[in-house]
């Protein structure tokens, strides 16, 4: 268990308990788990299944960066572990699991939400939707302007 990396891109189903175990700490009073799953309906359109693709080496670096940002923003007592799945996923399959532990619950909730928001901004992972009438690579889920300066919207100094 000690050797499993905190941040992983995997092509097999994610074991939620395994991710939770990675943030267990005697100083923790709370662990929050976010489990992102494949939704069937988006704006009335029916998804048959999904495919995720990642740039794994960079994705892991960016997940590590998110963890650093969390520790700088809250405290280095906060522990973060994230696993994101790639490949073919069916409806209700788990796409991402984020575990955050901290001495108190408020930070565990807030930091967990921060992590998923940042994943959608800076971690190079793409989702392809398969519908009854076609397929599409999805981008821009946050309805951001598509990166006017060639960079994702992050504060200076965070790179």
């Amino acid at each position: 268990m000690m050797n499993t990396p905190l941040f992983e891109i995997v092509d097999k189903p994610i074991d939620v308990e395994e991710v939770r175990q990675k943030v267990v700490s005697r100083n923790a009073g709370a662990i929050t788990l976010f489990i992102g799953t494949v939704r069937e309906l988006t704006k009335g359109k029916k998804t048959l299944h999904l495919e995720y693709q990642a740039y794994p080496a960079m994705a892991i670096k960016m997940l590590e960066q998110i963890s650093k940002e969390i520790q700088e923003r809250w405290s280095d007592e906060v522990k973060v572990a994230i696993s994101h799945r790639v490949g073919h996923l069916e409806i209700s399959d788990i796409a991402v699991v984020i575990a955050v532990s901290s001495p108190h619950r408020k930070v565990a909730y807030e930091a967990n939400e921060y992590a998923i928001d940042r994943i959608k901004q800076i971690v190079p992972i793409w989702k392809k939707e398969f519908w009854e009438d076609g397929t599409e690579w999805i981008g821009d889920q946050l309805e951001n302007v598509p990166y006017p300066k060639g960079n994702p919207p992050i504060k200076k100094g965070e790179l």
């Binding site: 992102g36 995720y52 693709q53 990642a54 740039y55 080496a57 960079m58 994705a59 670096k61 994101h84 796409a95 991402v96 998923i116 994943i119 959608k120 901004q121 800076i122 971690v123 190079p124 992972i125 793409w126 989702k127 392809k128 690579w137 999805i138 981008g139 821009d140 889920q141 951001n144 598509p146 990166y147 006017p148 300066k149 060639g150 960079n151 994702p152 790179l159």
Partner: protein, 77 residues
Amino acid sequence: MIRILLFAYLQETIGESELKVELSESTVGQVKKWMETQYPNLSLQNMMAAVNEEFATDDMIVKDGDTLAFIPPISGG
């Protein structure tokens, strides 16, 4: 030699996940323009890029041995 990595719709548009190109030292922006001449139906002007796994702006230099990845708008999570 510069390694160019392509993902998502870019990979499908070009039909390759990776290109190996001999280019003299160039900026990210120059490589984008070069790619557009090779693949005329491609638009990379607002495309994010990463050099050696770090986000890079158009004025950053890409040199021999570097890996340049084009990062279409992401949709993980």
